[in-house]
């Protein structure tokens, strides 16, 4: 099981700025190990964000997103107390969901 994400949702007016820091190796598939063998790609492939259970954003990522990826997006019509959940799924089928409350 992967480490938890850090999610922060900050409300300003009727919008919430959501910042997510995910813990993931994001191996690019370009790197070689000490024995000269290619390290296979291992990266987050799909990201889904929900606002009070409703999907507001989906994203597809390649291996070129940085290690421990950062993502920032703005949810419209969000207010304090709303639940923002983020799910990722990597190319090995591992998945993780974390939730934060907007404030």
């Amino acid at each position: 099981m992967a480490d938890p994400m850090r999610i922060r949702a900050q409300v300003a007016g009727d919008k919430a700025t959501v910042r997510v820091l995910m813990a993931h190796e994001m191996e690019s598939g370009q790197r070689k190990d000490a024995a000269g063998k290619l390290v296979p790609a291992w990266h987050i492939a799909e990201v889904t964000a929900t606002h009070n259970g409703k999907t507001v954003l989906t994203a597809e990522w390649g291996p070129a997103v940085s290690k421990n990826p950062f993502l920032q997006f703005v949810v419209k019509g969000a207010k304090a107390g709303d639940k923002i959940a983020v799910t990722w799924k990597d190319n090995k089928g591992d998945t993780r969901t974390d939730e934060a409350t907007a404030s």
Partner: protein, 152 residues
């Protein structure tokens, strides 16, 4: 010379072999557009996404450092204020595969995203907005990289 058709055929064969041997779990989900993420250039990516020819637009924004010291972590922002955006793409032209990320925009989020990308070398970075009416708009910016973040 290897044509695109040949390449596609070969990768299909390899994919078939891998699938047959059960070694191919990572691309088991349908939504993930593998072809687009393996494409080498902006034009190929757009073709794989089924989008038309791109037009440069000042309504699309791309943000990033002029000089990135560490190519492993390059903060990039992409977005547009135009209504009716379907997808926002971030691309780095000279990476081994150009496409970094695809964001599927809904009405409930602003079409403005920030993330961090790896860059192998100094290159143009692109923000591409695919609109609901089929238009494809892009903006580009050059980012110089002091230390590449792809190989090693």
């Amino acid at each position: 010379m290897q044509t695109r058709r040949k390449t596609l055929k070969q990768s299909a064969v390899v994919a078939g072999l891998l699938a047959a041997s059960g070694m191919f779990p990572q691309y088991a989900f349908a939504a993930y557009n593998k072809t687009a993420f393996e494409a080498k250039s902006l034009a190929d990516v757009l073709k794989a996404m089924g989008a038309g020819a791109p037009v440069e637009s000042k309504d699309v924004t791309i943000g990033g450092p002029d000089i990135a010291e560490n190519g492993a972590v390059v903060p990039l922002t992409a977005g547009t204020a135009l209504p009716g955006v379907k997808q926002i793409l971030i691309l780095v032209e000279k990476n081994p595969s150009a496409l970094i990320a695809v964001f599927n925009v809904t009405d409930s989020v602003e079409a403005n995203f920030a993330t961090r990308a790896k860059m192998g070398q100094s290159s143009d970075v692109y923000a591409v907005a695919i609109m609901a009416d089929g238009k494809v708009l892009f903006a580009k910016k050059e980012v110089k990289v002091t230390l590449g973040g792809c190989g090693g």
